[in-house]
Amino acid sequence: MNMLNLYALCGAALVGLGLYGLLAVPHPLRKILSFNLVGSGVFLLFGVIARRGAGHGLVGDPVPQALVITGIVVAFSATALAVALLLRLHDETGAVSLAAPESGRPPAA
């Protein structure tokens, strides 16, 4: 069990935890949180891949590292958009339920 395998397992575990949270926790804000867990787990896997590509005077392959930096920023902007959508849903309907309304009409304001 070397260091890279350890972090690879950590990344996979984080993706699994985030997936469970996405499915099992009902509040949408917590679902957004779990989605961020999945994202950071995937980025950690990128980091392991980058570290494996070390050599030629560089301690890690810089291309996956650059992808991760871009990814973290874009994931944050997606989270901001999701939170804005959620707050607007709350302002419109007073609740944050993702369940479909019983009748065909849109939920009451």
């Binding site: 935890l17 867990l37 980091g47 570290r51 810089p62 973290i72 902007s77 989270t79």
Partner: protein
């Protein structure tokens, strides 16, 4: 079992432990606090993986800005937590979700533990061609020279996300000021912090931007620091976020992309094709692009956190 492995194992246990706690804890507020701590521990994991630029970005954005964003939302959604908890799925569904998640994680683990050895890598190409760019930091060279088109498109994606957030404005408040008016005691502690910290934060941000050419750092981390300082002055009540219809604000938002595209098109006559840098001027051009992008990123990230306008233009 070396000491370094013990350190890594403890760190991984802490990270997975606090992630588990974030998922299973009952209320939203502790979960978000746990997520902020998780972001900082993850930054440590990035340092252990020798990716310091990613560690800085994760600590700033993952731990810091995302935490602020989610806390503000959690405060506004506090009344909905009980209703949401009533919709909690039954034990059978949770078992199914746990099995699905565990299966997927196991599949990922098998794939990544079975990656080919020696690992395929682009390090030789980067190491050979880095000297031409004049940069010492390989990640900055990749971001702004070898894969500059990705960074350009990412800046555009950030602006798109902000526009999407602004489309959620109620009609009455279109073009108005985002967020509530923070009324704070001008002699209070938050105002003191809002006066003391931003000048220091701006100096640190400019340092991180400048040093990113040769050492870990760069415009993303610096832009996040600037955004955080701006948010601090807003939350301390020392500044009101500007109305989103202001031309100078919109100009600042697109400044980074415009400069990037302009230098890209200038690459056609000067060096052969779009986003090519003439050899002797590569580093100054890259620094100009980075400086303009840093300002745009700071304004965009700050506006993404404060959200869509909530006050009409007159106020």
């Amino acid at each position: 079992m070396t000491m370094a492995l013990v350190l890594d194992a403890s760190l991984v246990l802490l990270i997975v432990g606090i992630a588990t706690w974030t998922v299973v804890v009952r209320d939203a507020f502790p979960a978000i606090a746990g997520y902020a701590v998780y972001g900082l521990l993850l930054a440590l994991a990035w340092v252990r993986l020798a990716a310091v630029d990613a560690a800085l970005t994760e600590a700033a954005i993952g731990g810091g800005l995302t935490g602020v964003l989610l806390i503000r939302a959690a405060v506004r959604l506090r009344s909905t937590e009980a209703a949401a908890r009533a919709e909690s799925p039954g034990p059978l569904f949770r078992l199914f979700a746990a099995l699905l998640a565990a299966g997927f994680a196991a599949l990922l683990a098998i794939v990544i533990l079975g990656l080919p050895d020696p690992a395929p890598t682009l390090t030789p190409e980067v190491a050979e061609n880095m000297a031409v760019t004049g940069l010492g930091n390989a990640v900055t060279a990749v971001l702004l020279a070898f894969r500059a088109i990705d960074t350009l498109l990412e800046a555009v994606v950030l602006v798109f996300a902000l526009i999407a957030v602004w489309t959620l404005t109620p009609d009455d408040y279109w073009g108005g000021r985002p967020g509530p008016k923070y009324a704070t005691d001008p002699d209070g502690l938050l105002a003191y912090l809002g006066r003391l910290l931003p000048p220091l934060g701006i100096v640190v941000a400019i340092y991180v931007f400048w040093i990113g050419a040769d050492l870990p750092g760069g415009k993303f981390q610096a832009g996040t620091l600037l955004a955080a300082m701006w948010l601090l002055t807003i939350i301390a009540g020392l500044q009101d976020p500007p109305p989103v219809s202001r031309r100078w604000l919109r100009g600042l938002l697109v400044l980074g992309t415009v400069v990037f595209v302009a230098i890209g098109f200038a690459g056609w006559p000067l060096a052969g094709y779009f986003l090519a840098y003439p050899e002797s001027h590569a580093k100054p051009l890259i620094l100009v692009i980075e400086a303009a992008s840093m300002v745009s990123i700071a304004v965009t990230l700050g506006l993404l956190v404060v959200g869509p306008p909530e006050r009409s233009n007159g106020s």
